[in-house]
């Protein structure tokens, strides 16, 4: 993308700390105050008994975590985490930082609050995009990136709908219609040049 062709040369960019997260993640402690952590938090000696393998402990821990995950339905924050890290095709920043993707604009029906849906229950995920400027010609590409990202990772009973937030885009009806057309989306993904743009946008999602 040539710099001269930028649709929005000077977008507002949020810093990572302003973005919504599930919980406050404490930064890893590496400073002088944790110099003795290894000693203090070392594995107690009784766990080093020969018949208790490290693997066992890890295994038990893993099952506990896996249970937690499967018991929790996919919620808006999880969808947000999946797509906010997509890189804007014009700027080296994420869609979350550009506020193209916003947590309140992600809707899931039936609501995740009702618990984990059965594998055959069709779950509708609607993501409203806010393109950075109203005439942004890249809205379709952004939307395609979001749709592709979610369809790659969500279970098959999740139906993804990506639309432009009302009045945010001068041709939002056209963009919405394209993005909801399965045949067009399938054909677009076989277009090599578009595919490489999408791959680049999605690269940043795979790093974590």
């Amino acid at each position: 993308m040539a710099a001269a062709a930028l649709d929005n040369a000077n977008p507002t960019i949020l810093s990572a700390s302003q973005l919504p997260t599930r919980q406050k993640r404490s930064a890893p402690r590496n400073g002088p105050d944790c110099r003795y952590s290894d000693l203090i938090f070392a594995k107690p000696s009784y766990m080093s008994r020969p018949f208790l393998q490290d693997d066992d402990i890890r295994y038990q821990d893993d099952t506990a975590t896996a249970d937690d995950l499967s018991a929790e339905p996919i919620d808006e924050q999880e969808i947000y985490d999946l797509i906010s890290s997509i890189t804007d095709p014009e700027h080296p920043v994420s869609l979350g930082q550009l506020s193209v993707i916003n947590l309140p604009d992600i809707h899931i029906t039936p609501s995740p609050a009702l618990g984990v849906p059965s594998p055959n229950t069709i779950v509708q995920v609607t993501v409203e995009l806010t393109p950075t400027v109203t005439h942004c010609s890249l809205a379709t590409v952004l939307g395609l990136g979001v749709r592709v990202r979610l369809e790659q990772v969500l279970p098959p009973n999740y139906r993804v709908e990506v639309i432009c937030k009302e009045n945010s885009h001068s041709q939002d009806d056209q963009v919405n219609k394209q993005l909801s057309d399965k045949e067009r989306v399938a054909a677009a993904l076989e277009n090599d040049s578009l595919r490489s743009v999408l791959d680049k946008m999605l690269e940043s999602c795979l790093e974590n």
């Binding site: 594998p119 055959n120 069709i122 098959p156 009973n157 219609k177 399965k182 045949e183 399938a186 076989e190």
Partner: protein, 440 residues
């Protein structure tokens, strides 16, 4: 009140493990061709297993396929419409003459032989004979006219092309473009030719040749196309009423009372509409009488060659999102639909209403026109009833296609006659279903 049950039969083997778009049964042989990825898999309906694969022909997905009808025995010809903007002409080359065994007569005489013949059939293979080039972007649909004389292809480039094979021998391929139809304002999603039934051939002969083509588009309309007496293909009707992309069109395969076949359209708006040609007193097409001979005027200006098509019913609403496919049985008259919600729905037309609603040509008019509405909203009582639905017919996956076809497998008591439904899904499964209807 009729009741109905849809019972899952076998899936065709092997599973394809990728999105499959469409499965088209051969017009008279026990074969069905499924488009998936860049390939087509042909299944035998006798064994419900693999017959052959058409591979390495296209650089992008194959979206649609069409069997050429009315071929001499032992000949198979399949057209593939691809996202790579081309259509392929494939012909089956027999390994030897003994696999000259696919004639319908042969099969009806001795169905059990169909299975053993599978092996010899595999000695043959598909030849990729010709590429039909011309479309600017993805080909979405293709279909042969009932006689096999014409092939129509349609594309995201908003055009429909009509092709004719003018080769002297069936085994040779020499295709030329006889028309390019440009009036749609968006992708043309599908094309379908009116079946060769008496109703088609009685009507409209004064001004048009017999073949009638219908198309469905991203522009929310369907259109009807005919060839006028000057050999020009013209749009004779625009069917407006859907609030979203029209995914396809399905003709009535066997109309009652020799009426002109009706047309079903189905859409991203979740609805299925029934359209009927308005016919005049003498059974002719009043709507299409030209006021004047307009020779020399470009076809786009010949507005007087219009047919009046009215939306005469909307099927009971089942699908809340895209209806991707609808199929209308010539045998039972039942209609089945499916779509992005993964539901299969079965509908029946109220037979009491039919005689009332669609009188034979010559007795109609006042009643018919009072029940219909030109803007596409149907008037009149409920003429169609929903018999049953199957939710999650492919589990959580979307279903892209549904079709009626004859059963030829060992599980059927009336092989070659009994009908079943075949659905094709995003899960790469091609699934057959038995339909039992009890009218009581």
């Amino acid at each position: 009140m009729a009741s109905a049950k849809i019972v899952q039969l076998q899936s065709l083997k092997p599973d394809l493990h990728e999105r499959a778009w469409v499965s088209i049964p051969h017009p008279n042989l026990p074969l069905i061709a499924t488009a998936h990825g860049k390939n087509v898999t042909v299944f035998s309906l006798s064994t419900l297993s693999l017959h052959s694969v058409l591979a390495d022909g296209h650089s992008r997905s194959v979206r649609s396929v069409a069997w050429k009808p009315s071929l001499p025995p032992n000949n198979l010809c399949l057209i593939t419409g691809s996202f790579d903007s081309s259509a392929g002409v494939w012909r089956w080359a027999n390994g030897d003459d003994e696999s000259a065994d696919y004639s319908a007569d042969d099969l009806s005489q001795d169905m059990t032989r169909g299975i053993t013949k599978e092996d010899s059939a595999k000695a043959g293979d598909w030849d990729y004979n010709l590429v039909l080039e011309g479309h600017d972007s993805e080909i979405k649909g293709c279909a042969f006219s009932p006689s096999g004389a014409y092939l129509a292809t349609c594309s995201r480039d908003k055009s429909i092309w009509i092709w004719e094979d003018i080769a002297s021998a069936e085994s040779e391929d020499d295709w030329e473009t006889i028309a390019v139809l440009n009036e749609h304002e968006g992708d043309v999603k599908a094309v379908a030719w009116c079946p060769d039934v008496p109703g088609r051939n009685n009507i409209g002969q004064r001004y048009y040749s017999v073949d009638v083509l219908a198309s469905a588009s991203y522009d929310n309309t369907a259109r009807i196309w005919r060839e006028d007496s000057d050999g020009e293909w013209v749009c004779v009707a625009v069917l407006q009423g859907h609030q979203g992309t029209v995914w396809g069109v399905e003709w009535e395969p066997r109309p009652m009372n020799d009426a002109f076949p009706r047309l079903l359209t189905f859409s991203a708006d979740g609805t299925i509409r029934v359209w009927t040609l308005e016919q005049g007193e003498d059974g002719a097409d009043d709507g299409a009488i030209p006021q004047d001979r307009l020779g020399g005027i470009p076809s786009t200006m010949r507005r007087s060659f219009r047919e009046q098509w009215n939306c005469t019913a909307v099927l009971p609403k089942v699908h809340d999102k895209d209806v991707y496919s609808v199929t209308w049985s010539a045998e039972s008259g039942l209609v089945a639909s499916t779509g992005s919600d993964g539901v299969v729905a079965l509908y029946k037309e109220d037979s009491d209403d039919v005689s009332n609603f669609r009188p034979p040509p010559g007795e109609n008019t006042a009643d018919g026109s009072s029940r219909s509405n030109h803007d596409g909203s149907a008037a009149g009582g409920p003429q169609w009833q929903l018999l049953t639905t199957v939710p999650n017919a492919h589990g959580p996956y979307e279903i892209n296609h549904i079709t009626w076809c004859r059963r030829h497998d060992a599980g059927s008591t009336r092989r070659g006659e009994e009908e079943m439904l075949v659905t094709t899904g995003d899960d790469g499964v091609v699934q057959s279903w038995q339909v039992d209807v009890n009218s009581s």
